[in-house]
Amino acid sequence: MQAFTLLDGLVAPLDRSNVDTDAIIPKQFLKSIKRSGFGPNCFDEWRYLDHGEPGMDCSQRPKNPDFVLNQPRYAGAEILLVRANFGCGSSREHAPWALLDMGFKAILGESYADIFFNNCFKNGILPIVLPKAELDELFAQVDAAPGYKLVIDLAAQTVTRPDGKAIPFPIDPFRKECLLNGWDDIGLTLRHADEISAFEAKRRVEQPWLFA
């Protein structure tokens, strides 16, 4: 996993609540057996005017001019500004894979669905929770200033605006450590392999029917 330390990135706004993972990456693209290549189909139904299917050349498809992320000023954005309950619905990890493939490394929102939130950390994306009032200001500032960038400092746990205001954000210490170092969860867990084996052996005696 890529380590996340400091990000100085262009911001793109998506001013809707309850954006579900079906919207982030529609199901027809879940048929892939790979982890990569989902970027061109991220937000497919909103982004294009035609219906997308796997294998299509997205550069040739008609873009929806009304979809905010299609505006040239947001091309190359690395930070996505969202509202409440982002990533609800399906557990598909294809959603963070698609966001990452589209270029997003951090998300700023009011709240996230639990599974999506978790899936982000497993892929080096930082989902930041901010109060609604801060988000309202950020949405207004992004709208008013083309080329609007933010600096996200994970170690310091701050999002810094162009006007210098640093907004603090909370993060679970364990997750922070993993992201900063780009650690692989499986490797970390396997350091406790002996404890897992001992736990399992005891369970096998207490509830043998679980091990039939």
Binding site: D22, L30, K31, R35, F174, T189, L190, W209
Partner: protein, 473 residues
Amino acid sequence: MAQTLYDKLWNSHVVHQEADGTAILYIDRHLVHEVTSPQAFEGLKLAGRKPWRISSIVATADHNTPTEGWDAARGTATIADPISRQQVETLDANIKAVGALAYFPFMNERQGIVHVIGPENGATLPGMTVVCGDSHTSTHGAFAALSFGIGTSEVEHVLATQTLLMKKSKSMLITVEGTLGAGVTAKDIVLAIIGKIGTAGGTGYAIEFAGSAIRGLTMEGRMTVCNMAIEAGARAGMVAADDTTCAYLKDRMLSPKAADWDAAVAYWKTLHSDEGAQFDRVVELRAEDIQPQVTWGTSPEMVVAVTGRVPDPAAESDATRRSGMERALQYMGLTANTPISEIPVDVVFIGSCTNSRIEDLRAAAAVAKGRRKADSVKRVLVVPGSGLVKRQAEAEGLDKIFQAAGFEWREPGCSMCLAMNADRLEPGERCASTSNRNFEGRQGPNGRTHLVSPAMAAAAAVTGHFTDVRQFS
């Protein structure tokens, strides 16, 4: 100290805990399907790792599989879409290479939706941790199991370590006391709950459903309720174990046998919240207040009683919510204040891990019996949750009732719940569906989904519009 059911399930699976509360949690049962597992098996192989405990794995193919035209002689070649076929064949190959306690491949007599086949084969048992790369894994909590959906990286983590790294959630108790009215079902209970607390109401919580109306539900009904805990934002939903739970599990294929059975039942009977256990949040509903529900928008919380009307965004004070409502009405092609019973439907779908079990089919058949699909309804799909459900329904003659009513009787699978196979809505079509998500495009690009119970779906099929099923009794 008095413990909640969630406390008991959590505590009995903690292998190791860090100072900040992050725990290594042991996983008893790992359910696997074709869509969210290929990258996990590949990751495992690339890292040169072996699965930790193969006997924890129960697998099936369900999301991509067609629901008609099965031909055993042609095997997976029956699957017309080459990428769907590749995904199903990749699962075949992965399970062949790795092994499993049980595998129900495409067209196997026990194949079906992963959340239907787990319980009906006794692969889901009380006191277990059950995971699957699928958000509706919350279904299995109906058996007093701690069960939740995981992402593909976590699927790989469970394969490699038999554990997950996680922190304990907050706990919520939702009680439904009283007696349900005739024609009101588990689906209406859970839609009413989501209508009350919202789709993010359960975020960060594990929900226990309790109260006399929940205790009075069959296991099928409890599964329907827990299935949609995730639609309320909660990764896990659960119900205490009782005699209903044990009676359901007796003599299932993988249920404990002989002396193990008695020991298991003795343990299972302890799986309930203790008197006086504390919850972080408590929500109370009265069963008598719950009416048959119909969703009108593009989120499960956009729900009203069948006797109600499409709400008016003008009456909503919060700007973000108002614009969400307006967008939903536009997508759904609805006008504010229209009575729900005046909304016509084009398609009816009876199926999905929410409502495709034998009881659901019985409830739909009871309405369909002796009636015909309305001429204005283009098609009605009945898709049993599994091969076992299908055979049971056929033994009871339900297939004949559906066919006589002009409904299509299909092979098991996820089907039009998410339309990854050929079963999907055409743009603009309006569907009464017994599934769990009414998101934009969920049942096909620009399709319009209204979530209802199986009886309400059948009622819409025979009248051509949403109809209060209580009129039929």
